[in-house]
């Protein structure tokens, strides 16, 4: 069944504040196998011009995937999550996320379409600090394989 295209353009209000901790950044850096000292050592981060340790460029997914669930799991959308794969991901960085940041995100549904029997939904999450400073925008495309009965479009 095709997805409900009336979701295109919907925005979801800022989610609760996510406070970025040094220990979480380190844990994430270890999980991606990256020993760069700028993720771990505040002195190394300062030497590179950052006020504190920064997070890896893909770290925002920890925050934005959760925010995206507001639409992905909305039963009205009609997405069969058991058939969903991650199609594409893009991060546009205004400045790196760093320890101590208190971030909120606004979710927007950019597009919904069917192609080759698959349903695609593209979303973006604009992450900013509590004070309104833009930090990162995360764009995601999810693909539900074989769920569209409209065929090629």
């Amino acid at each position: 069944m095709p997805l409900d295209t009336s979701f295109i353009g919907r925005t979801y209000p800022a989610a609760e504040v996510y406070e970025v901790g040094r220990a979480k950044i380190r844990e994430f850096a270890e999980a991606i196998g990256d020993d760069n000292p700028i993720y771990r050592d505040p002195a190394a981060a300062r030497e590179a011009g950052h006020p504190d340790v920064i997070a890896p460029p893909t770290f925002p997914i920890v925050i934005t995937a959760k925010i995206g669930e507001q639409v992905v799991f909305d039963p009205e959308l009609g997405l069969d999550y058991t058939k969903v794969v991650h199609g594409a991901q893009r991060f546009v960085v205004t400045r790196p996320i760093r320890a101590g940041d208190r971030l909120t995100g606004v979710l927007t549904v950019d597009n919904i379409q069917s192609a080759a029997g698959n349903d695609l939904i593209s979303t973006r999450v604009d992450l900013s600090t509590e004070d309104g400073e833009s930090v990162v925008t995360a764009y995601a495309t999810l693909v539900a394989r074989g769920t569209s009965d409209q065929g090629d479009q």
Binding site: A31, I32, D34, P37, A48, P57, K66, V85, A88, V93
Partner: protein, 156 residues
Amino acid sequence: MTGADSAGRGAALSYAGVVEGTELPEIRSRIRRADLIRYCGASGDFNVIHWNERAARSVGLPDVIAHGMLTMARALHIVTDWVGDPGAVTEYAVRFSRPVVVPDDEEGAALLLTARMAKKLPDQQVRIDIIARTGSDDAGWDKVLSMARVIVSLPS
């Protein structure tokens, strides 16, 4: 971005000094089941296809697969190891074209990363294109990401 760190990252890199077409040093690494479990915990993505082969097979996958986001993160090492400061990355985009299948053994899956300085952009930025493959020298290598592009800001 003040030159190389102790691991040699970011040595003498400048916008003026980089040349389009330059290949970055290749990286070979492995993704094992334990890496997937660790990434589940760190990212909060506990989708069963990343740790339960029964569940993976039930949806038509050959075995447990790595998180696309873990592959995306690992692929970026080739750029951040070269540039030194990961804060220089201003944009990073990929399409997930093929899953990295991770068998339940000591070897896991191999990841082969190559990258090329594709284009000098205005404002001291450059675009680097990454090619990420899984496989082996014997059996051949398959691309797992497409359009994997990074924009970094370099010192003058």
